[in-house]
């Protein structure tokens, strides 16, 4: 396939004064599981509706398999949609719901019967073919909605938060199944969700959207490990951000000096010398060690007045014996989460960092520092990197401090 399945060229959609999508460029290759991820109001659903034809862009072009679909109504587009509310026809049974699209295309009766039954078989709903939607549970309705769209063999399948209304356990099961079905049929999926974990689980690539713009498009691991902006860092996982400045940059690498005084060398990803930036370390990559307060390293007991102190000899500021960068702070809270313990540490300058310590064994957990304890955070140099400030948008509220597995609002 040379032509991308879906291509958006500088697409803008404004509703009056409200700009929902700004100058959006996307290229989605054939057969990809592509996810639009972002908080509500970021423009992801509008983007989907622009591809489906329910909205017309106020600027730019939408191309499906290379042809401009401007002005083409939804019923002529080679796309099908799975709606958030499922939108199954309540007056038709499962068979007729799934057959609806084929009937509009004047497909022959025998073929309709065969394809409808095969599709319901695929989604595991063959036994319920004669039931009405109101006799089905939410998860079952979801499967029928999927079959109703897929049976038409669309060039692109659009899914608008299809699992949003289901409970967590059912959602997990359907995530894997959706992924399996997508591989099986090889159709391009464009999936809209605000659930970062769902996006990480299922997608080939993720576009993180914020205020009508794409902040980053990358594979799930890249988006998580190397977020491009403070917004992405905060939306995917926990925003462990330390403000600072690039002091020296050349050929991709440079020196970063955090506001707390810690300096380290890292890849600068195009951030120039003298520019403000934030350093990100994922919570599971941080190492936490108690500081003996008799050494007077940092503990004042009061998080708000915590100050970075030079190490014992001053010249070793922010550097442990093994050369790993370190920073001292005070534990604000420690929360038991089952598989891990989450510790929030307040650093100088009122910066909050979350540390995730696996609950491997009971004795080790008992030794973890509690509230008010002075601690030292350290990390491997390859686990820190710098991101630029998101345009216009503040990083998500630090109140959302929960480990990845739990953040699924």
């Amino acid at each position: 396939m040379t032509e991308p399945s879906v291509r958006l060229e500088a697409v803008t959609k404004a509703f009056g004064d409200l700009v929902a999508v700004r100058e959006l460029d996307l290229d989605i290759p054939q057969g990809e599981f592509f996810t639009l991820l972002g908080p509500s109001g970021c423009g992801k659903t509008t983007t989907l509706r622009l591809v489906a034809g329910f909205e017309q862009p106020t600027g730019g072009r939408v191309l499906i398999e290379g042809s401009d679909v401007a002005g083409m109504p939804p019923h002529r587009r080679p796309t099908n949609t799975v709606f958030q509310s499922y939108a199954l026809f309540p007056h038709l049974n499962v068979r007729e719901n799934v057959a609806y699209g084929l009937r509009r295309k004047k497909v022959g009766g025998d073929e309709i019967k065969r394809r409808v039954e095969a599709e319901l078989e695929r989604v595991g709903m063959a036994a319920d073919i004669n039931r009405r939607p109101n006799q089905l549970s939410g998860g079952m309705q979801q499967r029928v909605a999927l079959a109703r769209a897929l049976v038409n063999l669309p060039k692109v399948l659009l899914l608008d938060e299809p699992l949003g209304a289901l409970d967590l356990k059912l959602r997990k099961g359907l995530q894997l199944e959706l992924k399996r079905i997508q591989r099986e049929v090889g159709i391009t999926f464009v999936y809209v969700t605000h659930d970062q974990e769902e996006a990480l689980t299922m997608s080939d690539r993720i576009a993180v959207m914020n205020q009508g713009r794409v902040e980053q498009i990358d594979a799930p691991a890249q988006v998580y490990e190397r977020p491009a902006t403070t917004f992405v860092a905060g939306f995917i996982g926990v925003s462990n951000l330390m403000p600072g400045q690039v002091t020296r940059a050349s050929s991709g690498r440079g020196q970063v000096r955090l506001d707390s005084g810690v300096e380290f060398e890292t890849a600068t990803d195009g951030i120039g010398s003298g520019e403000r930036c934030h350093a990100v370390v994922r919570p599971e990559k941080l190492e936490i060690t108690p500081v003996d307060s008799s050494q007077g390293a940092s503990a004042t007991g009061d998080p708000s007045s915590a100050r970075i102190r030079p190490g014992p000899t001053g010249s070793e500021a922010g550097r442990a014996q093994d050369g790993r960068p370190t920073i001292d702070g005070v534990v604000e809270a420690s929360v038991y989460l089952g598989t891990a313990t989450q510790i929030v540490v307040v650093l100088p300058g009122d910066v909050r960092m979350t540390v995730l310590v696996p609950n491997a064994d009971e004795a080790e957990r008992a030794r973890l520092p509690g509230g008010g304890a002075p601690v030292r955070l350290s990390w491997a140099p390859e686990h820190i990197h710098v991101v630029r400030e998101s345009a216009g948008a503040p990083a998500p509220d630090a109140g959302d401090r929960a480990p990845v597995a739990e953040t699924s609002k």
């Binding site: 099908n80 949609t81 026809f89 007056h91 309705q141 109703r148 409970d167």
Partner: protein, 292 residues
């Protein structure tokens, strides 16, 4: 004492309901009973003896038949037109933004609140000003006019709760706007439209006040009965009235059943995870219950 009191309290609602129903149905029961009466003179006001004569010969009085069939014709025609126009008006009011939508939404209910005498007199003077000859045509215009508001109100309430995603789903699956209306919108609106038309029919067939102003030489069923009241209402009128009542009850039951189905269909909600077979929802108020 306390046991007796509890028994009363437990049955209080039943007793109250029975009394209310009796209060509503007693006058109709009198009509039904007196259709089997065999009165001596012209007046059918006292029980004299049982006979089936007025049922077997219910349609033996030409002036009564003429009035009855004129009323049926008028009700059928005005219901058809009022239902179509009212449904379209409701769609316009709910679905489209246009100049004057909000006043229109309010004004549409004004005829329901206006005293019938005022409407009747106003229509009469309007017909006289425009020089229309009073008769079936003026009755038809008047009946469509006062029925439309009720149709709009009933259909509008259903449209407001209509999930537009269903229509988008149809478009998405390849249906043109017209096919979408035919295969999705209309079937889902049908219970409301049926209920509305039944209401319009009931309003038309028993209207007296407005018809009295605008009938000219035409005599509808209610007008005939009113005119006959002074000379003595023929017992056959009681029989026909009872037939009419029974037909209405059947139609009403059908509407209620339709409404229930609509409610059940509408009760598809993704949240209903644990209850795939949600129980029958509470019976909705029949839209026709206000009329007649």
């Amino acid at each position: 004492m306390s046991r007796a009191w509890r028994a009363v309290r437990e049955r209080a609602l039943n007793v109250y309901a029975a009394l209310a129903i009796a209060y509503l149905l007693l006058p109709i029961a009198v009509i039904a009973v007196f259709s089997f009466n065999d009165p001596e003179g012209k007046f059918n006001f006292t029980w004299q003896g049982f006979t089936l004569e007025h049922w077997t010969n219910a349609f033996s009085l030409p002036p009564l038949n003429d009035a009855f069939f004129l009323s049926l014709e008028l009700a059928a025609a005005s219901t058809l037109v009022a239902t179509i126009l009212g449904t379209l008006i409701a769609m316009a009011l709910v679905r489209y933004q246009f100049f004057g939508r909000r006043p229109a939404n309010f004004l549409i209910v004004v005829p329901m609140a206006t005293p019938e005498v005022v409407i009747g007199a106003a229509l009469l003077s309007m017909f006289l000003i425009y020089g229309l000859e009073l008769g079936f045509a003026t009755l038809f215009i008047a009946h469509v006019m006062f029925s439309i508001s009720f149709v709009v109100v009933v259909v509008r309430s259903r449209l407001i709760g209509f999930d537009r995603a269903l229509e988008e789903a149809a478009r998405d699956l390849g249906a043109t706007p017209l096919t979408t209306f035919r295969t999705v919108t209309l079937p889902l609106l049908t219970p409301a439209v049926l209920g509305a038309s039944l209401l319009a029919f009931a309003l038309s067939i028993d209207d007296f006040v407005i018809s009295n102003f605008n009938a000219g030489e035409s005599v509808t069923f209610p007008l005939f009965i009113y005119g006959a009241a002074q000379r003595g209402i023929p017992v056959e009128a009681y029989s026909i009235a009872t037939i009419l009542f029974l037909v209405t009850v059947v139609a009403m039951a059908f509407t209620v059943w339709q409404q229930r189905r609509a409610q059940q269909m509408a009760s598809i909600r993704p949240e209903q995870e644990d209850e795939p077979y949600a129980g029958t929802p509470a019976m909705p108020p029949a839209p026709g219950a206000a009329g007649g």
